[in-house]
Symmetry: C2
Subunit: 279 residues, 2 copies
């Protein structure tokens, strides 16, 4: 991959989840990939301190940790447990050396129909979580998920909604995740990106492409960069016009891609990234 | 069903697509269902004039015909064919005695990534179609479809986008379809409904509930009224505050519901409708 400028490339661990953490670190070194976004479950499985040492020894930057959140419960015990888990996620982010924890807010509680009330509970939880994160040098990055996840995964469906929540807190505590897969359809998103950038709240920029047909459950159908309907350079242009200069991370969930060889997938993803962004 | 006030109920033919048109008409008569929304394919199969006679003889009001649209092509021949087909749809609506033709705009052409340009092509096509529809006493009702359909079915994803298109034409030519399934996640939709109502552009109000997990392809997973995440009375409240007094049509696409008995499904849908709206 020596011909590619991968300086700003980051590979999200989920994209190549068939690789173990050591395999991922080795593949990144061999291919010249400078940065990774990590996920809590495989990091916990490997051991947080061991994982931190592994990525440090491999010279990898950790751009994000995915993910905290799931803060929409109405039950007091569940809320306390969710907050405790989110504090652990902050601790893990700090241990791994990343300053960005991605938050997926959570869906509607069973039987509930009030999206606005659920978003208010997120704001309420962040009042406790955000100062804790700041104390540990970690920024929270609220990720709006595509509206098809509004009931069961994330009641924050647009960048505007994410910003409306984030703006209740200082920018160094709470910002947003801009992920093309979730917002590409939204003609108000470019304006929201400008607003986020003006406030220094674009905490990470992630890419995945939109392909159809969507699979059952719609979670694991994200397209390889360049395979779908999204103009990546256009979205890169929006975040950069808004002042974003950080990593551009690729996060794909795709059963077909996971069925193949992980190192080849990483190499292909790096090539696609370089073809579809302005480096 | 004599205990239910079904005055404002309309059953969309697709909800009970296991019924033939005569079976549907008979079931409506037996159950006291006063109105139907029809689809072009089964009407054409039965014969447009015969279908018009059948529903007229059964005393049924035809609230909508579904659907015209698919106007996003860039190819001149395809565009001409699409416009010709939409003029036929207008003719069929007029023959069936409904004043409302629902429009599903169409997705991105193969390889295209520009949603805005595709929406402009819809506006361009409507310039030809809307006066033709008016001449035949038919209003066009642009339906925003859920953003999960933005690439392959409908580049109009929000009520605001639909209104931005509709407002280029007189309200008696072009308005919008308000369908809970497609807009329930959108916190800007209530304001858009108010705007649509102020301009007399709410041409039909349809209900379906949001349930998960979504099936592969995401088309046929709409929930029976009351089974999902949508507060139907709240959305009814929005359209009525905006001045809408017309039929409230139930349009479900659901493989599981289609697998059962059509008459029982119609009876159950009427019950659910009456339980979940303010009659």
């Amino acid at each position: 991959m020596s011909d590619l400028d991968l300086t700003r490339f980051s590979i999200n661990q989920m994209t190549v989840k068939q690789l173990t953490l050591p395999e991922l670190a080795a593949a990144c070194r061999d291919l010249g990939v400078p940065a990774v976004g990590l996920w809590r479950a495989p990091v916990q499985e490997y051991g947080v301190e061991a994982a931190a040492r592994l990525v440090r020894d491999a010279g990898l930057t950790v751009t994000t940790l995915c993910r905290g959140g799931f803060l929409t419960t109405v039950d007091a015990d569940e809320r306390a447990a969710a907050l405790a888990d989110n504090r652990r996620a902050v601790d893990e982010a700090a241990a791994l050396g990343t300053d960005t924890l991605v938050l997926v807010s959570g869906g509607l509680p069973p039987g509930a129909k009030d999206l606005r009330a659920a978003r208010e509970r997120i704001a309420d939880a962040l009042t406790e979580l955000a100062p804790y994160a700041e104390d540990h040098g970690v920024k929270l990055a609220i990720e709006p998920l595509h509206p098809m996840f509004a009931s069961d995964r994330c009641v924050v469906s647009t960048l505007t909604q994410a910003l409306d929540l984030a703006e209740r807190f200082p920018a160094h505590q709470v910002g947003v995740t801009v992920d093309t897969y979730h917002i590409w359809w939204d003609d108000t998103a470019p304006e929201a990106i400008a607003r986020a950038g003006a406030q220094n709240r674009i905490h990470t920029f992630q890419l995945a492409d939109w392909i159809t047909p969507l699979p059952e459950g719609v979670l694991n159908g994200r397209g390889q960069i360049g395979d779908g309907a999204i103009d990546m350079r256009q979205w890169q242009g929006y975040v950069e016009a808004a002042g974003y200069t950080g990593s551009i991370e690729v996060e794909l969930f795709n059963e077909d891609l996971w069925a193949g060889d992980g190192r080849e997938l990483l190499a292909e993803t790096a090539r696609r990234w370089a073809e579809n962004v302005e480096v």
